[in-house]
Structures are given as C-alpha cells and as structure tokens.
C-alpha cells in the first residue's frame, strides 16, 4: 500500500510548506510527520517524501540515514533513551543503564520480546543539571532514583 498522511497531518504539511522558500527545506519536518504516524521511515515513506517534495529518493534516503532520530526499522511501542554522556555518568548513568537492562532482560539497542520497549543510550540531552536522566517517548525524566526508574518501567510494561 502506498503511504499517505492523515488529513490532519496533511493540513500541517501545507502550513509548513509556507514557511520556507524551497520545498527541499520541508524534508526534515515532513519526515517527522511521517514517522509520527508510522513509527519508522519505511521505503514507501522515502518514496512518498521524494514525490511530494520533488526530490530524488537518494536525497531523502541520505537525509534519513544521517540523523539518528529517524528509525530505519520498526521499533518498540515505547522508546527509552538513557543519557550516558559524562555529566550524567558522573551521577550514575552507567548504573541506570545496567539496572534497565537487567529489569527488561535486554541490552541497549534491543526491543523487549513483547515489542513494548526499545532501550537505547543517548548522548547528552541538555539535562546535565538534573542527572541522571532518561527520555521516554517525548518526556524527560530527571534526577532519576532506582525507585523512579522502576515505576517508569513498570508503567511502560503495563501499558
């Protein structure tokens, strides 16, 4: 099935097109809209974006592979990113990562068998003053304690 945006996202796309002097500039915003809807950027989406913006599929693919936040494969329902960079590591990030891996029974980069949670490490997320921290989908969780991490993961495993 060829990919199509939902009507609401289609409206948003029209609004975004007005903001830039070129169609190419809409590449990143449109890829975000597509991934929001589909979870990852499939070959169909690359095709769709290149058609809508009059770009070559190679250009779009080149953009997708450059930026870490475009998923090139399906991912779990929830994304857990634990920051591992030095300021967080100074306050326990490696212990947070180990704890998450143990609790979920997976390594960073993997998805739980039920497809619910993908666990990954992140580079500095601009929360170094509230370390250690992790991002779950769109939300930041800061000043993490063991108890807090357990609560967050339990909620994700349940939902």
């Amino acid at each position: 099935m060829p990919f199509a945006l939902s009507p609401e996202r289609e409206r948003k796309l029209q609004e975004i097109l007005e903001r830039y002097p070129t169609k190419m500039a809409v590449t990143l915003p449109l890829l975000h809209l597509c991934q929001e809807q589909a979870g990852y950027v499939s070959d169909e989406i690359v095709e769709f974006v290149s058609k809508r913006l009059d770009l070559s599929p190679a250009h779009v693919k080149g953009v997708v592979t450059f930026y870490t936040l475009y998923n090139q494969h399906p991912v779990g329902k929830h994304q857990v990113w634990v920051c591992r960079t030095l300021p967080c590591a100074l306050r326990g990030a490696y212990e947070v990562i180990e704890h998450c891996e143990k609790r979920l029974g997976i390594k960073c980069g993997e998805t739980t068998a039920d497809g619910k949670i993908t666990l990954r490490t992140a580079e500095c997320l601009a929360s170094c003053g509230t370390a250690p921290m992790m991002q779950v989908d769109r939300d930041y969780h800061e000043n993490l304690t063991r108890e807090r991490v357990d609560q967050i993961l339990a909620r994700l495993q349940g939902g």
């Binding site: 903001r19 500039a25 990143l28 770009l55 953009v63 030095l86 100074l90 326990g92 601009a126 003053g129």
Partner: protein, 459 residues
C-alpha cells in the same frame, strides 16, 4: 564578586511563567521590540546591540553586535536576496543545559529577541532550530509565537510598522554536529547536516544562499533585557565590561556538586564561586580533580593551575600567580589561561574520579557524533576512542599512549569545522594533565575494576 540578577530568569518558576501575561507583568512584554521597530532605524538597533557587549553565548564568544553589522546594509532592493536570522537552540554540547531553561520558562524573551534582531539585520524570517528531543521547549516556543501573533507582534505589520516578521520553529533530528552553524544551515535547507567550508561566511551566503546571521538562543534572548536597561547600563553589570564582555548570562553547574543548577549572574563569577557559593560545594566535601569549563570541547582545568601574566598590560595581570579558579570567567580571560569559556556550564569532577574513564566516555561521544566528511576527524575520533578503551582495559603499550598525542595533533587544523579541535583539544588537555594516571594503567598499577566515575553509588 558574585552578583545574582534576574533579567532573563524573572519568569522562572512563576505560575504560567512562560505565558504572555507573565512576560508582560515581569519583563515589560515586547516594549523593546515595539520601541525598536517604531522609533529606531535599523542602524540604531545594530549600534545599540554593539554597545551591549553581548559575547555570543553559543561557545565561541563572538561579539553579537559586530556579527549583526556584517550583514549587507540598507534594505534589500526589490528582487534582491532576502536576509535570514537563524537561532541556534540545538543545545547538544555535553554539559550544557541552559538554553532549554529559557525556552521552557521564558520563551517570549526568545521571540521578542528575534523580532529586534530581524529588524536589525534586515531579515523578515527567523528560524529557531531546536533539537528534536526538546519537545517541551518546542511547544513553549510555539505557544509564545501564537500568543505574539495574536497580539499583532508578529506578522505583516508588527506594532503597526510596515516591516513583516515571522518566527518559525525548525526541529532537528538527532545530530550534535547540527549545532555547528553551517551544518545547521544545511539541515534547515533539508540536507544532511554536514558542515560547509568557510568562506563564504553565513553573512554573505547562509540559509538558501542568502545573507544570514546565526546566533545562539541565549544571545538573542538577552537582547530585550539589554535594550530595556539601555545597552551601556546592561554591559556595565559585568565585571568584565572593560574588556568588552558585558551584561548578564546563564551559568550552569553540573557533575559532582551538591546542588546542580542553572542561575543568572552578572558576567564574571569564578569557578570557586560557582562551585561553592552557587552549587553548594563538592559532593561528599571532596576536593576537586578538575573542571570542564563550558562544555566537553573546552580543555579541563585543575585547581592547582596558576595564572601566568607578568605583563602589567595583560588583562589577566591582576590574577598573576593566583589559582585559575579565582579568575572571573570571561571569553578572553579563559582564553588567556589556556582553555575556553564555551557555554558557561561547568562540569565539576571530584577527587577520586578516574580521568582515563572520563576520557574514554568523552571520546565515545565524539566518535559517535563526527559527521565523517574529513578523514582526520572521522578516523582520528575512532582511534582516540579505541586506544582509550585499550588503555582502560590494561592492554595498551606506552607507545600507544604516546601515539594518542599524535592522533589528536593530526586532527588539529586539518578539518572543515571546529568539531575537530573540539575533539582534539580536550583530549590533549586530559592526556597532559593526567599523565601519571594514564601511565599507571599502562604499567598495570591501576585497572578498570577500581575505576570510579560517581562519588556515591547511584540509588
């Protein structure tokens, strides 16, 4: 002397502090944008901006007003290329956590700053480039833009003046390198975020090939405060006004301190004041191994290092012989002591922390984030990581340890963008300042099993 101020942070922590009502109540609410557009010429705005002595808050410390003055003069002729303002809110430098607080808690200052800056540089459109992960920041900025537009502060004729201004939020997609200004321009144009060769500089050929000014988000957010107080008065708040480093700015303290935080201060506090008076001292009342002055690309400093400035004409002469931890933090003072001010967010590392592990952790970041265009950076960052890991595992020879210096030196000056120096300089500083610790690993006197990064176990 430590001077707390609240020209940028007065709305922080207030109920709905991010809304227009709070901005009007606490911070004058767009009076300065109104004044600039309705009573000043473009040239007067740039002159006022120069007088404020705002050094770029993104890391390099270039004077904001002078950067604005590089833009083509006069109003663009019909059919000529438009001008653009690009606001850098990519905040990805490890240890940096300040711009996010402005977007979340005082987004209207960012928008008002954009209006004044656009007018000053002859632009009608500003793109605020926010890293994708900062969803709350983007929502708050977009909320502020909507409120400002509803009031008629943005759009075809802000404040009734025939000078259109639009502000848009542009989301990144996960790439530290997009914080580099020319990479950011490529990213806005819809390309891979690879830095461009300079020249041409953005003021000549920036976004979409048009004259563009790129400023950090805090730089722009400071503009309404500077105009509100009067640029000269604003500049004089700083302890370093006399060396053209003016005003107030955000300072962050993170790492091994009791109270990590972001605070607003007059320019010029010292490391000691930030660590002890602002952040409550070091965890476990330990001594300080070193600090990273302003983001991981700035070379580490140790408390025992002293200032060498025997020449009375040197701006650092008053601190000759004193600890670098007692020097006011400024763009030129930090350059003078052999490091960089960077983003003004200090990472504190306590005694007992393993510097070799710190190096390995940081090199993992640079390895991950190199865009790969230049061979010395791509291969060099990979080598720095690989050898650091080997040292940590007790498997490296003295020769390999010495080789690290050559790898880092091979990156310096041989790359398209400053990411290369940002990788090599901190690596060289750690290697030089912690030589005994590195050697201890090589000689088998220290091992990964005893290495620690935390002061207390995480719980």
């Amino acid at each position: 002397m430590l001077k707390r101020t609240n020209y940028l942070t007065r709305t922080y922590g207030k109920p709905e502090g991010w809304g227009l009502a709070a901005y009007e109540r606490e911070l004058g609410g767009y009076q300065q944008a109104r004044r600039a557009l309705t009573t000043m010429t473009r040239e007067q705005v740039v002159d006022e901006a120069k007088k404020a002595n705002i050094r770029g808050r993104g890391g390099a410390g270039f004077p904001m007003g002078i950067k604005w003055s590089f833009m083509p003069k006069g109003s663009p002729a019909p059919g000529a290329k438009p001008h653009y303002l690009v606001v850098n809110a990519d905040e990805g430098e490890p240890g940096t956590h300040k711009d996010r607080t402005l977007m979340e808690q005082n987004p209207h200052a960012c928008v008002e700053g954009c209006i004044i800056a656009c007018y000053g540089i002859g632009a009608h459109v500003a793109y605020i480039y926010v890293r994708d992960e900062l969803h709350l920041s983007k929502a708050r900025l977009e909320g502020a833009i909507l409120e400002a537009r509803a009031k008629g502060y943005l759009g075809k004729a802000p404040f009734g003046k025939d000078y259109a201004v639009e502000v848009y939020v542009h989301s990144g997609a996960g790439a530290y390198i997009c914080g580099e200004e020319t990479s950011m321009l490529n990213s806005i144009e819809g390309r891979r975020g690879e830095p461009r060769m300079k020249p041409p500089f953005p003021a000549n050929a920036g976004a979409f090939g048009c004259p563009t000014t790129v400023n950090n988000l805090e730089t722009i957010a400071a503009v309404p405060a500077a105009f509100g107080l009067g640029a000269d008065e604003f500049s004089k708040l700083s302890a370093l006004h006399h060396i053209n480093d003016g005003g107030v700015r955000l300072y962050g303290v993170n790492g091994h301190v009791k109270k990590p935080c972001v605070v607003e201060l007059a320019v010029g506090p010292t490391f000691n004041e930030l660590i002890h008076d602002v952040a409550g001292g070091v965890l476990g009342d330990k001594g300080i191994l070193c600090v990273i002055p302003g983001g991981s690309s700035t070379p580490v400093m140790r408390p025992a290092e002293t200032v060498h400035a025997p020449d009375p004409k040197s701006p650092l002469h008053p601190w000759h012989g004193k600890s670098v931890f007692d020097v006011p933090l400024g763009v030129d003072t930090m350059r003078g002591v052999g490091t960089m001010l960077g983003t003004c967010c200090v990472t504190v590392i306590a005694d007992g922390t393993d510097p070799v592990w710190c190096m390995q952790n940081l090199m993992q970041f640079y390895r991950h984030e190199s865009c790969g265009q230049c061979t010395p950076c791509r291969e060099g960052s990979a080598w720095l990581l690989r050898v650091s890991e080997k040292i940590l595992d007790g498997k490296a020879s003295l020769q390999e340890l010495d080789g690290l210096h050559d790898i880092a030196n091979g990156i310096m000056g041989n790359t398209i963008c400053a990411f290369g120096e940002g990788t090599a300089m901190p690596a060289l500083a750690i290697l030089q300042k912690f030589r005994p610790e590195f050697e201890a690993y090589v000689r088998g006197q220290r091992s990964r099993a005893d290495a620690r990064l935390t002061v207390e176990p995480w719980s």
